[in-house]
Symmetry: C2
Subunit: 317 residues, 2 copies
């Protein structure tokens, strides 16, 4: 693999550099992704040494770090944070893309400010590809970037999500649905009712309204919602999968070890990260509790997305 490295925010995530440095080493060794770690050089160097990986992973020194409790705008003042330094590297094309397991709000704020929005985009959206029962994936957009979008923003999310489904998942003509309550036209809240009219006017294959029970069935390729509902749904899926498997285990119907394979299907460990769409560069937000394996996978996703951006076509990921 050649090209600019993926920049990994070494200080982001609940487990800090212990997880991120290990993740960078895995990204290089297992996925062939060149990685540049942004963060405190001494803390990174120590850990690279322990992995016997000095020289395998680049380091971009940043003496400050954004705390995980920072929910957004406060991150902007920290010009020397690993997040800010990483975003600038992507803006300046020293990095192919950024991966951070930091606070989603902070990553979104900093990336929008530094990397900038793509032309015409009002607000960015997080997209996550959820494996569905039809054997494919359903793109959930927005999964948490913009908690209070306008109907116009929601309509843009539909276009962004459809682009992701085409380029990354290879779906030629994705079916796009709006998440709402009640499948009949006219149901939902004010936001969705207005957005439905805007989406219907877009050059997209509209699948109409989708209810909560169809999120995982593969009824649509792209499921559009606001960042609040999207994030609640994403985490509700995680919790419900765990609860269901726990009940199966308690009834003695299957062995917990076997059930963990099913859990892995929806685990953030597996999907690796959420892409922040609508920016002028590639940004992937990993789960705050990401393991090294999940971070390595997120680096591979960032590489593939960046390659797709360059090629203007389908990523090879």
């Amino acid at each position: 693999m050649t090209g600019a490295p993926v920049v990994l925010d070494a200080m982001g995530g609940d487990r800090g550099p212990d997880a991120t440095v290990a993740g960078a080493v895995l990204a290089v060794r297992d996925h062939g992704v060149p990685v540049l770690l942004a963060g405190r050089a001494d803390e990174i160097a120590d850990r690279l040494r322990r992995h016997g990986a000095t020289g395998e992973v680049g380091v971009l020194h940043a003496e400050d770090a954004v705390p995980m409790t920072e929910r957004g705008p406060g991150a902007l003042g920290r010009e020397r944070s690993s997040l800010a330094v990483g975003c600038r590297a992507v803006r300046d094309r020293d990095g192919a893309g950024l991966v951070s397991a930091g606070s989603t709000g902070a990553v979104v704020s900093c990336a929008v400010r530094t990397v900038g929005r793509a032309e015409g985009v009002l607000r960015p959206a997080l997209v996550i590809a959820l494996p569905n029962l039809a054997g494919g994936a359903t793109v959930l957009v927005d999964a948490g970037a913009t908690a209070d979008p306008t109907p116009e923003m929601l309509a843009q999310f539909a276009t962004l999500g459809a682009g992701y489904a085409r380029r990354v998942l290879g779906v030629a003509d994705p079916r796009v649905g709006l998440l709402t309550i009640g499948a009949e036209p006219g149901k939902g809240n004010r936001l969705v009712r207005r957005a439905a009219e805007l989406v219907a006017a877009l050059p997209l294959r509209s699948a109409g309204n989708v209810e909560g029970h169809d999120v995982l069935t593969g009824a649509v390729d792209v499921l559009v919602t606001d960042g609040f509902t999207g994030n609640v749904v994403l985490k509700n899926i995680e919790g419900t999968v765990r609860a269901t498997l726990e009940l199966v285990a308690r009834q003695g119907l299957a062995a917990p070890a076997d059930l963990r394979r099913v859990a892995a299907f929806y685990d953030p460990e597996t999907h690796g990260g959420a892409a922040l769409l609508g920016l002028a560069g590639t940004v992937v937000v990993a789960h705050g509790s990401s393991s090294p394996r999940a971070l390595a996978r997120a680096c591979a996703v960032a590489r593939d997305l960046a390659a797709g951006d360059r090629a203007g076509g389908r990523a090879d990921g």
Copy 2:
């Protein structure tokens, strides 16, 4: 069982009088709940005859019916619908409570107009008791009555939900949480951030913010959200349970017949109905696709809620 009968909307629900008449017969025979069926007398009488139940179930003639596609205000003009006739029976204390599997929006509109709100209540809320992993139940409020509440309404939902947990579930001092994104104070959308301040000022045991993955863990006794998010979450749980069990079955880990026992745990068949709180009378909204068994259970819930209202204490359900 003595006292006023529960009024069951015979024309509501996807399966119409075929399901509701059978449900009424089961309610009388299996649960000892006296039932009055509101709807077209001839259609009801035919079916009662087929069940050999003529005389066991009362009939309140109503020649009109609200279509399932009616999402709310349009139901108000239909004074002779089974829904309107049923609501008036509850208002006039001829019925202990109303059960309808009609369109949620229509039931809410009609019940609010006819039965009326309890004093001081801004908007009603649907509550549903979700079985949780801790062995109890978590009261989800609002599960779909008010899609666009104000922060003040959301704070009232907290009080209504806590009252339900105390009276119906017997939880002495229920822990009340707000569903949001990010557990830290200050996260969420505009609605939740403002509502959090209002809820904190109430005489309730506040458990702070709850994320989507904790809906089923029993982290709180009452989970407060707007009716749009609540309805999406409720249906997302149903869909995710089904998807998870499907994956377990596909991997050959357990027999589908055994897995259906786990599915039943969260099935609308089991919880029977959602109570519409904040009204001057008892109203239970059953799932549109309710089977006779689910409708019978909803009638029993309505009887128990009405008994609790009369006693001002814990229902015996």
